[in-house]
């Protein structure tokens, strides 16, 4: 099959968990990578090595271990900056996860004064395909500030409805202060036109926030290479979906915007000086990193993005495209199965949500699990997107750089088995 990662068999050996078996000696077919990715040995080893040999708090320990730990933590920031092509490494802020990164922006904007202040009459624009993490923080912001939340609807084939009567001309106006949307949908898989929406939002002076949680793992991100008017002002993603550990996320923001935003959490590390009467704050990135950060997680994330950089994100994207196309073909052979979202692999990422007539997603996932096939069932933290398509929940398979065509075959075969188990035709 064309497009697969060269030496896929060797790449798979980098991921020890893929060797394990499940109950009954069945091999693991892991198709839940949009939920969390598996970890290569180098990430695991790097974290263990840090804990075994270099562990100390960062920036405040005046000893050799402290210097080593600080160096490893800051090197991870450099690696992440390279991974996303950040114009400046100081624009990379470590957070707990993507949700915290998005909440950081929404909260800081709630406290902002001057040009960035948001109030009655102002609008925040999101979309109907967002993960709850990119809906709720904006609901909270607009509710607290008396501003209005608006959103792009979706077309029947799972794209943002940018051309309809409630499209981009209607929704991006002088009142729009923030536009926040996902690069790649975690449920529909849709790849959104980041450059086009960002350009239009910038024309009215709005801040553009992009949830890159699903795009960062599977597509090249090169912020510096984007036209400045088409470059988002903020992107957020999480470590554990890019073969890194949990507990670490990334917020990248345009330096002058971050410098203008009020602090989010107060505490150690984020200050310049503290007096009882008041404090002054450190410059970015430390301004937004109060308290001891997740040090070993950051170091692990550094190893993770290095690993992806070695493989090449272009090659990862080609692999995902080939596997996704193969999966869409395979799923189309299952009677009663309906894919939610674009049917052209070129327009989507590697997460494919679907319905199967007569079987609830929970029951599908249960039967698949008994065959060793791990998928996700439920609303995937995207209830509005499900409601848009008139479904309460769905089953989602999501591939990644280690997924093989044989694993897609196993999924399709297990879906056939599910139909026979529930006596459907």
């Amino acid at each position: 099959m064309e497009g697969l990662l060269p030496q896929l068999g060797i790449v798979r050996k980098d991921f020890p968990i893929l060797e394990r078996t499940l109950a009954g000696g069945l091999p693991l077919v892991y198709l839940d990578s949009a939920n969390t990715s598996q970890k290569p040995q180098v990430v695991i080893d790097t974290m263990v090595d840090h804990l075994e040999r270099h562990n100390a708090n960062i920036s405040r320990a005046m000893h050799q271990l402290g210097a080593e730990s600080t160096e490893a933590f800051e090197a991870a920031r450099d690696k992440v900056a390279t991974f996303i092509g950040a114009p400046s490494r100081d624009e990379v802020i470590f957070t707990k996860n993507a949700s915290e990164a998005l909440n950081l922006v929404a909260n800081s904007l709630a406290w902002a004064t001057g040009d960035l202040a948001i109030g009655p009459g102002d609008e925040v624009l999101i979309t109907e395909m967002e993960h709850h993490s990119n809906i709720v923080p904006w609901q909270l912001l607009t509710e607290r500030k008396g501003a209005t939340l608006r959103w792009f609807g979706l077309t029947d084939d799972g794209h943002l409805d940018l051309d309809g009567p409630q499209g981009i001309d209607e929704l991006i106006t002088e009142r729009t202060k923030v536009v926040s949307f996902t690069w790649v949908s975690n449920m529909l898989g849709t790849i959104n036109p980041v450059a086009e929406i960002t350009r239009r939002a910038h024309e009215v002076g709005a801040i553009v926030v992009v949830d890159a949680s699903q795009s960062a793992p599977q597509m090249p991100t090169d912020l510096a290479a984007m036209e400045p008017v088409e470059r988002p002002d903020v992107i957020a993603f999480t470590g554990h979906k890019v073969v890194g550990p949990t507990g670490i996320g990334v917020l990248w923001g345009r330096g002058d915007l971050l410098a203008q935003l009020p602090p989010f959490l107060g505490g150690g590390e984020m200050i310049e000086t503290v007096r009882m009467e008041g404090s002054t704050y450190a410059p970015i990135p430390h301004r937004f990193e109060a308290g001891t950060p997740p040090i070993v997680e950051a170091v692990g994330l550094g190893a993770a993005v290095d690993y992806l950089g070695e493989l090449g994100l272009g090659a990862v994207r080609d692999h995902e495209h080939a596997i996704t196309a193969y999966a869409l073909d395979g799923l189309a052979t299952v009677p009663g199965l309906r894919v939610l979202g674009p049917l052209d692999a070129a327009e989507r990422g590697g997460a494919i949500s679907f319905e199967l007539d007569g079987v609830h997603p929970h029951d599908i996932a249960q039967v698949l699990d008994a065959r060793g096939v791990a998928v996700r069932a439920g609303h995937h933290c995207a209830k509005p997107a499900h409601a848009r398509f008139g479904v309460q929940s769905s089953t989602r398979m999501s591939s990644y750089l280690y997924t093989t065509p044989a694993e897609i075959d196993a999924l399709v075969e297990a879906l056939e088995y599910t139909r026979s188990y529930f006596k459907l035709g």
Partner: protein, 162 residues
């Protein structure tokens, strides 16, 4: 039906459960009722709207009707059907004891021997207790029923006192 290797699917999906799933008893929302509740399983999105009607005409407060509109998997749908069929017509006190017995079964991690005299078709859910992720599915309707019944009791008592 062939058994999947690995996990024991057939212990989860008993024929009784699949029968109730395909032909749920007492489904639909009906009048009269004293309380209506809406419960959701936030992790999966399963939802149920349930009405309970109590009647104390013969001096014993009884579950006169349980009606519902539910969206969910086979386990949650079948559990609702079994539950409604079990408690309708029973004195509230006895129905609450059945509820307690089902709860004990579900929380027993597969180690509790169910009492068929009390739970009837409900014993089919013994296998569910071995699948921790599915226990909440089986309990959704039972929790909704207890909530609605407790509210109905309040209503009924107020009416009696008033």
């Amino acid at each position: 039906m062939t058994n999947a290797p690995g996990q024991d699917l057939d212990s989860l999906y008993q024929e009784i459960i699949l029968d109730h799933y395909k032909n749920p008893l007492h489904a639909g929302l009906r009048d009269p009722f004293e309380a209506e509740v809406h419960h959701v399983n936030p992790t999966c999105g399963d939802e149920i709207t349930m009405r309970v009607h109590l009647d104390g005409a013969d001096g014993v407060l009884r579950v006169s009707d349980v009606s519902y509109d539910a969206l969910g998997c086979s386990i949650s749908q079948a559990s609702c059907s079994v539950m409604a069929d079990l408690v309708i017509g029973k004195p509230v006190e006895e129905a609450m004891a059945i509820h307690e017995s089902f709860l004990t079964l579900m929380q027993g991690k597969g180690q509790v021997e169910p009492d068929e005299d009390v739970l009837e078709d409900g014993i089919a859910f013994a296998g569910v207790a071995k699948f921790p992720a599915r226990v909440k599915c089986a309990l959704l309707s039972w929790m909704a029923w207890k909530d609605a019944t407790t509210q109905s009791q309040g209503q009924t008592q107020e009416a009696t006192n008033g």
